[in-house]
Symmetry: C2
Subunit: 463 residues, 2 copies
């Protein structure tokens, strides 16, 4: 096995790898919108065919939602060399507001920018570009060496952006097939856009959609204004009440299961020199929001939050309509940490909302889903081996960090498959994931592929 030859192969064929990524990005696999169901399947089939082309025994597995991709490759497991389970997701976020995109989201292209070349398009960073980094690493490894260095299972889902409804049942039904020694999850980023990172703690998520129902029909505010309940007013009161003036969440019991940061981790994070001002400045902001008594890294990595992600009600078209609407809606999410229990927080939220409604207004709770936070064990020596490989590729000491986003699959792998997970990815804060004009740096893609080749090499040599 020659790592250097593999790295040369990767460098020589980077344009072909970009072409393959662009072909995958052209498939609008928006999982949350039923209109794109067939496109999700197309993306899954694309990946099955690609994995077959590099020797994997790959197949598409139907679920009640979008299909899973499962592939097996490499030699039989050998004592001392870990059997790896790679995870990524082929589905993407919706693209609205479409008018804010400078180019069509599903017509990806390589662009020159003042920060270097980027791949522009929905899913470029989250997560198609990232998942292709390890597929490309394996392609190069197999081409150079004629075989993979260790037993590898690949598991790709298509519902990550819509709450992963099929994930837990699928893991339960296929636990024996999917079990490996350690999971590698490629859906995270570089620290501060420059330091390669392995995420060791992730926030959980509780998502809630509420619909307040007042009058049986929309009312004219001239006739009824000042007398009848306006559900938008009630909704704004509920949402506003969810946070106090210092940015704390006011749900009773919300902070009961939130641990304080250990002194060691606090010291390590303080040492990262995180530049919160720059992070805000990059998106046109200057005033840190949220809990006023917490550092920026605590806020985004280890503190729970409450955010309203969408709100709508009444007349929202051009001009004016002086209506008291019959209904008002909001989508609200809580980022969870430590031992916060999504079911307990959900119950507290239901009580909180209902306590603020007059008896003639009702609330429907729908589309709720949740996952607890997860904290990875870093005692497995593979963590330090992988950290060393990342440091070699990027010529800077790689870090163990936290992540503000939820990647519930890490928790599910632990619970259902009994495996730890290493979360390694090459996204940057300015990738605009979930936003218009999403991109992935060509450098992230190229050095990401090289990083995985180094990790594969180091983990199989470590035996």
């Amino acid at each position: 096995m020659s790592l250097d030859t593999v790295l040369v192969k990767i460098d020589g064929e980077i344009d072909l790898a970009l072409d393959r990524l662009i072909a995958l990005l052209k498939i609008p696999s928006i999982s949350t919108d039923p209109a794109y169901k067939d496109e999700c399947r197309n993306a899954a089939e694309f990946l099955v065919n690609d994995l077959k082309s590099i020797g994997f025994d790959a197949g598409l597995r139907d679920t009640p939602g979008h299909p899973m991709v499962v592939a097996h490759g490499g030699p039989d497991a050998v004592e001392g060399v870990p059997h790896l389970l790679f995870y990524g997701h082929y589905d993407v976020q919706p693209v609205d507001p479409l008018e804010l995109w400078d180019s069509p989201p599903f017509e990806p292209a390589i662009e020159d920018t003042d920060k270097g070349k980027v791949i522009r398009g929905r899913g470029a960073s989250d997560d198609k570009g990232q998942l292709m980094t390890f597929i490309e690493a394996m392609r190069a490894w197999e081409a150079v060496n004629g075989a993979l260095p260790c037993r590898i299972t690949i598991f790709l889902e298509g519902e990550e952006e819509s709450g992963s409804p099929s994930l837990v049942p699928f893991l339960q039904d296929n636990a024996e097939e999917l079990k490996a020694d350690i999971a590698m999850i490629c859906d995270t980023g570089m620290f501060d856009g420059r330091v390669p990172a392995i995420v060791t703690q992730l926030r959980g998520l509780l998502a809630e959609e509420i619909t307040l129902k007042a009058a049986t029909r929309d009312l004219h505010s001239g006739f009824y204004g000042g007398l009848a309940q306006n559900p938008i007013h009630l909704l704004t009161k509920i949402v506003a009440d969810l946070r106090d003036d210092e940015g704390h969440v006011t749900l009773p019991g919300f902070y009961d299961d939130v641990p304080e940061l250990s002194d060691e981790l606090r010291a390590q994070w303080d040492g990262l020199g995180f530049d919160a001002d720059r992070m805000l400045e990059d998106v046109g902001l200057s005033v840190p929001a949220g809990e006023q008594d917490r550092t920026a890294l605590e806020k985004v990595w280890s503190r729970p939050t409450c955010e309203v992600n969408g709100i709508w009600g009444g007349y929202t078209g051009d001009g004016f309509k002086t209506v008291l609407p019959a209904e008002a809606h909001a989508k609200i999410s809580f980022r969870l940490v430590g031992q916060q229990d999504p079911e307990k927080i959900h119950a507290a939220f239901v009580d909180f909302v209902n306590a603020r409604l007059p008896e003639d207004v009702s609330c429907i709770f729908s589309n709720g889903h949740g996952a607890p936070a997860s904290v990875m064990s870093t005692e497995d020596p593979a963590f330090e081996v992988a950290r060393g490989a990342l440091s070699d590729e990027w010529a800077v000491e790689a870090a163990f960090v936290g992540a503000g986003g939820s990647i519930p699959v890490a928790g599910h792998f632990k619970e259902i498959l009994g495996m730890d997970a290493m979360l390694i990815g090459f996204a940057k804060e300015d990738d605009a994931i979930h936003s218009p004009n999403e991109k992935y740096d060509v450098q992230s893609f190229h050095k990401g592929i090289r990083s995985w080749a180094r990790i594969l090499s180091a983990l199989s040599e470590a035996a």
Copy 2:
């Protein structure tokens, strides 16, 4: 002149009158939505042609927005017989949410209901059905008598549901042509669905649209949640803060120019036996909202309000998107009374909003428009003459009442044309104006036509 013969003619040809109304209702003249510009013109042309067919010198007058209809008819003005200016509007409200309509809004039909026959369709009550009551009365009068009983000018606008941007300039530019002795405005309702009423005081309106702008793009709540400003949260706080727990509006100075009700008017209103419980029950509500220290009639007729008529921001589609949006929007309206000055309230609102924004969030104020409240003088004997005619038709004592809705044209007629206005209409609370399934009772239409014939007769005989 024979009133009885005119009434017999109206009764005998009511089906033809309904056919004409249905033809007008089929034209989707939604003034607030630019997509319906041509349809607004079609409605205006329909009315010009109809007025010409009954002998009026009628024409369509272009404006920067939708056209006005102006028509002149009847004998030259005679001493002691008032020259009347009739006003109505041919534009209608938008129809969303369309899925809540039981039949298409612009395919009007006569329906049997357990409360009697109704004309169902957008604009049936507001205001096409109402404006046709006086056109039909004049058609019958002219057919029976060969001439109208007095000098009559008809003035119909097409922007009432979108803030009437062309109205004031048009009145100013055509003041000499439009001046008459008294205006008759047909855009109000029966009291409690049973007592014919002349509205003598109307609330004004200040409409405000606000857009909060935070980050330069939508943000992922996993990366930025807890650190970056969420403009929806700021918006909900602003809207929630606009009213206190007792339903009072909290804008500084808001109540400065709000008069208390006179003892006489309070006594008269108390005598009307208004059943607020039933009004709420009709729309599925039971708990009076708004100012807890005011009676229901005060709330809707003589107290100012603040209502949010629309709110939107973030992800509002199917499923979930854990986004911190770049923008959040609301449409907010204030009903004004007494001497409240829309410009002064607007300035207080701007200050109120800006005081609640961190320095990296800005607010754009747009689409604002306002009109003060108006209180009509009832000393003109024509008010009592008309009240008598209404009492005769409906066999119940007609009332002088207030109205919660804004009909700014009454104020403009006073200011620009120097005329008092009588506001008489036959709408009912359950007409669902501005809502899905709008209707107008066939009884309102039929007896409304007869009412105008009686008023025309009484005003010309009074001379």
